[in-house]
């Protein structure tokens, strides 16, 4: 039975790859990346064989503990659980629990994360091959450690399965996950500095961790090598007990999950609150604007990118604090203008086949384009203004403000016009409605890249006048260029915006059904 489950997992993996060559490419890239990482870690572990016992012990215990922690935390927050062997699918097959558990646990090892963890764990045997006993202890520890990782992940995912199935939890966890991801640079820098400032405490941390479930299995080899057989024996007991306890928890949770499928329904709620649809003008364009704004707030694919915006100044300020140079904040307003304006260039692709409603109702293309652009503008304009003024206030360079505003507003309006044209004609591959923003389905990668690249190039050309004026001001130091820039940015931007909305609207009127057919491919 265990062999059957493993073969099923392999078959599913192979058939998944067969569905599209792009999936194979993605798997190959992920595999190469993992291979590089694994090779690096394995080499490091092999080299540690010649290091002092204490250093090697600290490194192995810390790394192992991090791995266990990662296996416990990442599946939940990333909502990227591997559900190919979802236990719920075996409910109708009456498989004995013991065999189901063994099969699912071993099945968890098949796949890139499982294989990578196993390989690296086995490399610790090389680290402790300073004698037969230490190597043997390391081998036992590695096996225990890897199984702890897998079973812990299973316990956590089974326990949160009901939670994870609820849409609200999914939405919030995705957005919460965006924050540390965006701030990764500063976080790594801060932690790195903290660690390098006081390396002395690391052995103490490792020593403590080695007595906890996280580090115990990884400490076996080191303790035996250092001549602490008693400590090793206790830690072996701890590891085995933890693994058994986790397996028992998993069994209980699974037994419960198999007879109580997750309940996804939400409570009933009466109507009467139209939200933005009741506030904005009751015209087709107003309705589209209200709908788009509602999506910016409610759909994690949109709000995920919205979370990035307030974090941009945090990153810039952090960089400024490190280097003592705050010149970078000058890029804040133009960059966020660009990100926000370009974000609606895939709007119809994000609608997916829900766009059929626009085609079926025969809403005018211009109203569609205008509504979507105004929705973006409703928050993009204040953001850009605040960022530009804030940057000027921080650097006390008020003379640069008009030019800054000219460039930023030029980018914002020209970009919205361009996005209106692009999304009326070209579709790109985006996460499907209801999916995580990190999950891009396989699709026309070539067209996606071409649209993005050519679109940005065109935008660069469109804002060339504003950019040239900004350079002119910087070179001559004349404030006049700044004021000209403000006027040009506003006027040229508004003209391009109007032209883009009209052209995009015309194309949409002519090719609405074709666009619907294009988005239907990715459903």
């Amino acid at each position: 039975m265990v062999a059957h489950l493993l073969r099923l997992k392999l078959t599913l993996l192979r058939n998944g790859l067969r569905r599209s060559p792009w999936q194979l490419v993605g798997m190959a890239i992920a595999g190469l990346y993992a291979l590089g990482l694994v090779a690096m870690l394995v080499i490091a572990l092999v080299l540690l064989r010649n290091a002092g016992t204490g250093t090697a012990h600290t490194a192995v215990v810390l790394g192992g503990s991090a791995a266990v922690l990662g296996w416990g935390v990442i599946p939940v927050v990333a909502s990227a659980t591997d559900m190919t062997l979802d236990p719920a699918r075996f409910t109708t097959f009456a498989i004995p629990m013991r065999q189901l558990l063994a099969g699912l646990a071993l099945g968890g090892l098949i796949g890139i994360p499982g294989l990578a963890t196993t390989l690296v764990a086995l490399a610790t045997v090389a680290t402790w091959s300073r004698g037969v006993l230490p190597a043997l202890a390391a081998l036992v520890g590695a096996c225990l450690g890897v199984m702890t990782c897998v079973v812990l992940a299973k316990v956590v995912t089974t326990a949160t399965a009901g939670l994870a199935a609820s849409r609200r939890f999914k939405d919030i966890s995705i957005i919460a996950f965006m924050v540390p991801l965006v701030l990764l640079g500063p976080i790594v820098a801060a932690v790195g500095r903290g660690v390098s400032a006081s390396t002395g405490f690391l052995p103490d941390v490792a020593g403590t961790l080695s007595w906890t479930p996280l580090g115990a299995p990884w400490a076996l080899g080191g303790d035996v090598a250092a001549g602490r057989p008693a400590a090793a024996a206790v830690k072996l007991l701890v590891s085995v007990a933890v693994l058994a306890g986790l397996a028992w928890c998993w069994k209980l949770l699974l037994e419960r999950a198999l007879v109580t499928p997750p309940y996804t329904g939400a409570g009933k709620r009466k109507g009467g609150r139209l939200g933005l649809l009741g506030v904005l003008p009751p015209t087709p364009a107003g309705a589209v604007m209200a709908r788009s704004l509602t999506y910016w707030l409610r759909d994690p694919r949109y709000s995920g990118s919205l979370v990035v915006i307030p974090l941009l100044p945090v990153i810039m300020l952090f960089q400024g604090a490190q280097t003592g140079h705050y010149g970078g904040v000058a890029f804040l307003a133009p960059v966020s203008a660009f990100i926000l304006a370009w974000s609606i260039s895939a709007d119809v692709s994000y609608d997916n086949t829900a766009f059929a409603l626009h085609v079926a109702t025969g809403v005018r293309g211009v109203a569609d384009r205008l509504g979507r652009s105004l929705a973006c503008l409703a928050f993009a304009l204040p953001v850009v203004l605040v960022f530009a003024v804030g940057a000027a206030a921080l650097t006390r360079d008020w003379a640069a403000l008009p030019g800054q505003l000219g460039l930023s507003l030029g980018i914002l309006f020209s970009g919205l016009g361009l996005s209106s044209v692009v999304s009326a004609r070209y579709t790109v591959t985006v996460p499907r409605p209801g999916d995580s923003p990190f999950k891009k389905p396989p699709g026309n990668v070539g067209q996606t890249l071409a649209v993005q690249f050519v679109g940005m190039l065109v935008l660069l050309v469109l804002v060339l006048p504003e950019a040239a004026l900004l350079v002119a001001q910087a070179v001559t130091g004349s404030a006049l260029f700044g004021w000209i820039n403000l006027a040009v940015g506003l006027l040229l931007g508004l003209v391009l915006f109007a032209a883009g909305v009209r052209l995009g609207g015309k194309w949409l009127d002519a090719r609405g059904p074709e666009l619907l057919a294009q988005v239907s491919v990715n459903r």
Partner: protein, 264 residues
């Protein structure tokens, strides 16, 4: 809609609600619809039946302006759908099958959105939304996001969105799929009254019983062609619609297989 439209010149009889001529569509190497012609008389309750993959959804998508046909014309109440799409779409209410909805809106918001997109007056929309929610038995869930609706509720909210502008022709692709019997009966009585007052309904389905009871006209479609069309009595020719359908489409196998299923 005041300009006289030329598409009705040659037709001397009453203008049909929907007239399809020589419609064809090919997807890659597969011909989905292979020259379908249909007349749907005004004021009729018209059923389109056919096996899976017969081309029902493709035909209805082309008839409603959602999918451009390779060949053929579609005329709704004298208005050519592909020459004058905006005028034609004003006459039609469409429930497409297999498309998503803007499901991060609440049910109430979604119907309102459909009405406002059609440029309707705000007060009229508000009154009709309340009526439709009550008629579909969704008033208690009006404030719930559509993404949290069950399959049947989703179908009903889409149906309501198709009706808000009081169209003269309703084109409904699989309207009763996953809808509970009570709601289905309610929807049927709404549709019956709509037809009695002069509206036209086209439904596609593969539930023969339902079509036989509900519709007065029917067309049997298979492999992208019309096999039979006319009033329900004409088409079924004395037999039950289901028997006639199986006879027309073929493929019913009188095998003696699966004996072991009775051995326990």
């Amino acid at each position: 809609m005041t300009a006289p439209l030329p598409d009705q010149a040659s037709n001397s009889g009453p203008i049909p609600a929907l007239s399809i001529r020589g419609l064809a569509k090919r997807f890659g190497g597969k011909i989905a619809v292979d020259g379908i012609s249909l007349e749907v008389p005004a004021g009729s309750f018209f059923g389109i039946v056919g096996p899976n993959g017969a081309g029902k959804t493709t035909t209805l998508s082309m008839a409603t302006g959602l999918l451009r046909p390779d060949f053929g014309t579609v005329v709704v109440h004298g208005v050519d759908v592909w020459q004058h799409p905006l005028e034609a779409k004003r006459l039609m209410g469409i429930l497409p099958d297999g498309v998503r909805l803007f499901d991060r809106l609440t049910g109430e918001q979604l119907i309102t959105y459909a009405g406002l997109l059609r440029g309707m007056d705000k007060a009229v929309v508000a009154a009709r939304v309340a009526d439709l929610l009550a008629a579909m038995d969704l008033a208690q869930d009006a404030g719930t996001l559509v993404v949290d609706y069950s399959a049947g509720m989703t179908k009903k909210i889409a149906l309501a969105s198709a009706m808000i502008h009081a169209p003269r022709l309703l084109v409904l692709d699989e309207p009763f799929e996953a809808v509970d019997p009570v709601s289905a009966a309610n929807i049927r009585s709404i549709l019956d009254r709509y037809v009695a007052s002069g509206g036209t309904v086209i439904v596609s389905s593969h539930v023969m019983d339902l079509v036989q009871r509900m519709c007065d006209h029917v067309a049997v479609v298979a492999r992208g062609r019309v096999l039979a069309a006319g009033t329900v009595d004409e088409v079924r020719a004395g037999a039950s619609l289901e028997d006639r359908f199986v006879q027309l489409v073929g493929g019913h196998s009188h095998t003696e297989g699966l004996e072991w299923l009775r051995t326990f």
